[in-house]
Subunit: 129 residues, 2 copies
Amino acid sequence: MNSDPLRPLVDTLKTLAHPVRLRILALLHAGELCVCEVAEVLGLAPSTVSEHLTGLRRTGLVREWKVGRWVHVALSDEAATRPLLEALWPLMAGAEAELARDRAQARALRCDTCTPSDCPPSRTPKEHA
Amino acid sequence: MNSDPLRPLVDTLKTLAHPVRLRILALLHAGELCVCEVAEVLGLAPSTVSEHLTGLRRTGLVREWKVGRWVHVALSDEAATRPLLEALWPLMAGAEAELARDRAQARALRCDTCTPSDCPPSRTPKEHA
DNA sequence: AGTTCATTTCGCTATTTCCCGAAACATCGT
DNA sequence: ACGATGTTTCGGGAAATAGCGAAATGAACT
């Protein structure tokens, strides 16, 4: 019945059309993170972030994989959504202040003696010593 | 308080994220139309189309102007939204059949002895004779 | 002035989206 | 096996969105 050929594109656009999800994409543009770090930076409940990420994954915008008990997230390298994302970055210029603050906060959370892929994220660098 | 710097971009994306509005944009990509023609092609109530167009105009995606008692609509030439639209056309390829049908129907409604700018749109060409 | 026709605004209902907390899962460490 | 921690799923309530018909508006033509 519902074979609307515009459906996939509309789904992608709907997924993009939310400030939190744009902030997540901008965060991931600077490097991968794990779900709890995203939740911390955005100040949202983990369940909320998980649901946003489900949408982003459904539309192929991000990919996720497990590392120990953490789920790491990064921008997908799928060709389909790339041009849209590339067109989007310049349009986020007006929010650069907020986005830079997000990135700085993510960097502060991240342990700096190891890469996100092979080490559990730590809330504070000293927890890792 | 609510000075979310991502707001304008989110508004634009929300406006794009609807099959009817995408079809309207694709229609206008082939040339300007008046509101009643858009309603006829899409098979929607004029009030519904009017509301969709209000959103498209609010976000600068289309422009409208009065011609007699008709309101003509065309894609806006604003620089801000252009790159987004340009990234969008290729992504609509999967719906080319439906979009081509829309365009054909619009062409059938349109009087072919005059341009849309200086002549009231007529339902059938012979009404114009 | 009154009529007609294109368009918009309004009132309404149905559906969807967003966010959370509680509970369920999953994985690691002890 | 147990507890701790990260994540997801579920249930629900507030808000936004989509569609229509009816009524209001504006412009043209008698």
